[in-house]
Symmetry: D2
Subunit: 425 residues, 4 copies
Amino acid sequence: MTAATGPIEDDLPAVFSAVESEVRSYCRGWPTILATAKDSWVTDTEGRRYLDFFAGAGALNYGHNNDQLKSALLDYLSGDGIVHSLDIATTAKQNFLETFDRLILKPRGLDYKVQFPGPTGTNSVEAALKLARKVTSRESIISFTNAFHGMTLGSLSVTGNSMKRAGAGIPLVHATPMPYDNYFGGVTEDFHWFERVLDDSGSGLNRPAAVIVETVQGEGGLNVARLEWLQELANLCRKRDILLIVDDVQMGCGRTGEFFSFEAAGIVPDIVTLSKSISGYGLPMALTLFRPDLDVWAPGEHNGTFRGHNPAFVTATKALELYWEKPTFAAETAEKGLLLRAGLDEIAAAYDGVSARGRGMAQGLMFTDADLAADVCRSAFERGALMETSGPSDEVVKLLPPLTTSRSDLEAGLQILAESVAATV
Amino acid sequence: MTAATGPIEDDLPAVFSAVESEVRSYCRGWPTILATAKDSWVTDTEGRRYLDFFAGAGALNYGHNNDQLKSALLDYLSGDGIVHSLDIATTAKQNFLETFDRLILKPRGLDYKVQFPGPTGTNSVEAALKLARKVTSRESIISFTNAFHGMTLGSLSVTGNSMKRAGAGIPLVHATPMPYDNYFGGVTEDFHWFERVLDDSGSGLNRPAAVIVETVQGEGGLNVARLEWLQELANLCRKRDILLIVDDVQMGCGRTGEFFSFEAAGIVPDIVTLSKSISGYGLPMALTLFRPDLDVWAPGEHNGTFRGHNPAFVTATKALELYWEKPTFAAETAEKGLLLRAGLDEIAAAYDGVSARGRGMAQGLMFTDADLAADVCRSAFERGALMETSGPSDEVVKLLPPLTTSRSDLEAGLQILAESVAATV
Amino acid sequence: MTAATGPIEDDLPAVFSAVESEVRSYCRGWPTILATAKDSWVTDTEGRRYLDFFAGAGALNYGHNNDQLKSALLDYLSGDGIVHSLDIATTAKQNFLETFDRLILKPRGLDYKVQFPGPTGTNSVEAALKLARKVTSRESIISFTNAFHGMTLGSLSVTGNSMKRAGAGIPLVHATPMPYDNYFGGVTEDFHWFERVLDDSGSGLNRPAAVIVETVQGEGGLNVARLEWLQELANLCRKRDILLIVDDVQMGCGRTGEFFSFEAAGIVPDIVTLSKSISGYGLPMALTLFRPDLDVWAPGEHNGTFRGHNPAFVTATKALELYWEKPTFAAETAEKGLLLRAGLDEIAAAYDGVSARGRGMAQGLMFTDADLAADVCRSAFERGALMETSGPSDEVVKLLPPLTTSRSDLEAGLQILAESVAATV
Amino acid sequence: MTAATGPIEDDLPAVFSAVESEVRSYCRGWPTILATAKDSWVTDTEGRRYLDFFAGAGALNYGHNNDQLKSALLDYLSGDGIVHSLDIATTAKQNFLETFDRLILKPRGLDYKVQFPGPTGTNSVEAALKLARKVTSRESIISFTNAFHGMTLGSLSVTGNSMKRAGAGIPLVHATPMPYDNYFGGVTEDFHWFERVLDDSGSGLNRPAAVIVETVQGEGGLNVARLEWLQELANLCRKRDILLIVDDVQMGCGRTGEFFSFEAAGIVPDIVTLSKSISGYGLPMALTLFRPDLDVWAPGEHNGTFRGHNPAFVTATKALELYWEKPTFAAETAEKGLLLRAGLDEIAAAYDGVSARGRGMAQGLMFTDADLAADVCRSAFERGALMETSGPSDEVVKLLPPLTTSRSDLEAGLQILAESVAATV
């Protein structure tokens, strides 16, 4: 929901428009002041409750103020645990590293080193791109149409959205877009163009250091890459000695079912970026993972003041223990995803120009008439649910409910959506 | 302390070297595991206590786990206040905006809009550079020798350190370094070269969008710009229609006495970046401030998942109320700065090749024999104090104690430093 | 013939290898010293004669030392006509401008301004790119796979060959390659990918200032764009307000029949580059042509010492009068092209893995086994004919005989080629 | 004389403004049509004669249509010598290489390989920059304030003039300007800033591949580098392993007395560019010279259609034989330079705000009131002499008479200049 500028924001206290920059965006579409939250529900200062099918753009996979995570966090803070430590060793960091290794990496046979970049997705992407360039001594990166990787200069170069790119104020270079899966509606062979220009020494393409890809493009409109497309991409990269970076900032941490969104495809990326839900509690945190032989960083070569945000390590550790010790959570998420999708398919079936799309608990409704999507979200807000649009023309109603949302709340949200569509289309 | 790679890190549990990337740095010089902290003291898992003259590289100006901030934070979290909100309006955000406006902007006559970029210094710098370029339609930025502004691609372009620049893996362009104050030991007139190339249409300098400057270069070796140099720079920018960005990420929030480090010079930058100590509690948070007429952002044109980190808004608000409602805090900081400097001058006077430098509570000792600085820090660590090096050759022992450090603790730290120097030189 | 490094160059006097740089290339494949030339024949110092099917890579469309041009040149030089004049007005320049306007522009209804950049093709391309960027205030240029536009930095950015690109020593940016006609063997719709990324605001493609295209890619391997492809490209550019630059450096001046190679397609480019045969005598000269409304140059904004090379203006004027006053020459060229092609088709038909390609008097034989092409050229040289290879793998024997070559000489050349193929394949 | 746009151009036939682009410049200040020329004199179509103190911007060091060169040229052309040969070996090329080696390189102990890039100065500079980057694997180039190196993208990046730079339409990067000799009026130590940023690992300067310098900046306003400054620069480059490129396009071929302008300083550049007067007759030709160990070009890695312009080789060979077999010519040039300078000093002494500057036969008058310089040139034109302005504000009347100009013609020119100054100031 990048550019909604409704007059309804006038309902907010003046300080928001008087003091905060024009860059603010979500508050324009959802003109209320949030006060408290619990699990899948948020409450505003007027006591109105909203069912949250947005979840901090995927940063709240375990819901708001999850009681068990909250308890660990309060204990840690109350006990004067270290809050800020850059990359000094702390007990909280040790616990996280051990738990992440034990519950995530080892069981999946993933031999990754863990880097703590600055605590945001874009910082993780910047670290990934720098490392890929350093390792290969090449400068060019292949990105995909409608990709979103972040807003700092390196990440922005591999991001598709033209409005956001224009904000750079300088020509964005060193990146070349390739068609994402199904970009041509299945008409063209998958890597036709990409392989041709890689193999043709006269193509004019600078040889790339890496490919960066999302398995499902959330901001790009819930475009889902088929698993076989991802496999073919991984093969292509391996054969041609190009590093494969999977940006799992939004789709990782169980959003699509398994912890990493690429697991279903059976591929092993060279570099992985994680952020958003990794802390489990909405606290800033990010990781960059890579094969040990790629770990050519000099000490401090990429750093950042908040790379040791220990409260986030505490909740992250607890979240791993709670949800990833056993396979149940992934299975339940998959099931809920099917439930969600069935509901969407039902709505879509009732209208022309509406279709469902997504994977796992990242699902959405696409409207051929793009303007309808924003109208549906506005209607849903009035009915008590948070849902945002995505896609190049904001044509998709994107649903990212907390993975912990109950079945009944999922059904309640679907009901609101159905009513909103009915009231709009 | 960018590149210290001592064997003493071997004392740490294997998980740190086995799982964490080689990029880690502080843990190499301080090979211990921190567990808890209070005010100016940190305690490791063995119960050893360290006096913290490092303060999270300036992110802990009010000390560790400051009781009054902690209380506000625990209340907020316990009450299930909103944790994560992107740029949706929340009560925590409203309180922060109102308090920041009332206690910081208004009293200083600063008419700034407030942007919440991603919650890190580098993200604030990226936003500042993008905005400056968008406003002016020019692409080039003037930076200064030995500047440090961050590690994402835009910020790195205006950072001086060659090791960190090399990490980019692509040529860093669109920035031109100019000599920082006293770069030539006072021999050359201050803006001789800069003004000459600006005014000479044949100089080959692309006309700059903005100048970005730190009033005191922390990472660059505690280089202090004279106030008249800053004034002259501000005049130069105003006359030639170049935007002036003050990066106050490390020197803001009272580090040099007053809230903004540029206040003493009586200048008003066009854009200001803040982070590190703005949350007051070591929580990730950042602001970009700018004149209202520069607020040309489109909604969402620069965004980020963690730009609405409400726990940080809560502690930030509380910190402003506690320390910036009255002028006492700034005055005390100034005094403590003098105390600190007097101690350093005394040490320096006793040795050849050692000199004191700094402003306010950002002070340091420079060693002509650069290797000594790291030895002094190592010795101080063994004696129970955290102090780090900075400067292009790591030749400066940099002291950034919490501003709330008591006079006796400041003296204790100076005593440790004196002993460390004596044991080393 | 970019990389032939045969030992046979050892036959040349030592001065060539001792004093001239390793960058020399043609002399390696044709290890002889040329002394004199007339029309389609060159003679070496040993008196050996070679039939020239190379014609200075297309710079000698009217043959060597064409008697009528020679006469005009000698008269001019003998009479002490101005030789060098930058862009001062001269009689020679006036005559050229009037004649070019009268015989080339006016009859074709082309309302172009004429710029004299430096006297080389790459300089004309650099001028075209600069102008397109200045007019549109955009920086990105679309080029095509296997394009060749020159070796200076701007032209090299839009050139496909990876070996030549690597010579830049810096990342070449601001250009994006698109598939040339038939790049996928006719499987994919022509502008599928190009139109899709232009129209998709999330594609990540910077909006281009211009498209630069050759109607037939000479260096790229005699790839011929179909006329309908060129028309569709022109439509696409016009509809989306992108400038269309036709690089007619090699294919202009009658090589494909009509004066401009784009005439057959009935399109009118916004900018046209000309060089190579424009002087008619192998003398350095280049033009950049563009619509009057694009003529936003400031005086001297693009200049060059040799942009007023008057002997070239004299022979250029004479060549226009001799060959372009009447339609006969174009018609004859077309006919000779058919003759040439028929001969090639005949050879191709006799072998597997050999095929003919080209347009007008730019024709060639492609070998599936790329190495054969160089062998055929070597064999032809031994048999007394100059023919060079082109294409990304040097897999095409490229024939660019002077347009004035007699039918019997064309047949003689085809005979040599047939024998060379027979001896090689 | 970059931007003169006088109404007096209206005197020219309409074809020049109707058909030629607005980019034309010299014809605006000198609104006449030149027809013939001999030695230091040109004659227009009205029979008016002009004494040429401009000499094709330094491309006509031996005068117009020099009889001995002309004779060699006519013989060659009449005898059907090869005109165009790319880099195929020819007798004309062999003669040139042998003669250049015998008369120029060997006697000076210069062990250079010779590259024939495209036949223009900018192409020679592009080749030099590419080679320097390839050899060092670094991308950055140091240029100097008010440098002029050419108009193609690589050369333009190292050129100072802001109007010409703006013509690029993209940000020009990979080059950093440093102060040319005497840029601060002798106040600052010569390489203060340059050495400091090179040696400071925190300076933010990308480590340069090469320095490119003119010994006298012609277009930049006849700024003369002192020989000791050049020596210090050469030392600085050698000590820090940075390649030194001397751009001798305008000041080479005897303009300052000796063949290369750097000989007087006793330095040996790593790479040298030559063009303008190298052919001796105003014909397009250029050379790039470099140390044999830098000759890492792959065959054809930098090429160009007109790199084998044999008529230019013929006149170049003849010019070397005529003027450089014996030391007389250099000595006479030096003497004439003194004569010219004495005349200028005399004029300058008579006025406030007028001063003489230059070296050898590159001399000029600088006017504190910049507008006067163009007025003086206009007045000189009316009096029958061609003189142009240069410098960032066109504040210098630049005199580059043919080196073969007789003493009496030099005096005649000085007389015209004196009258023009008198009539103007």
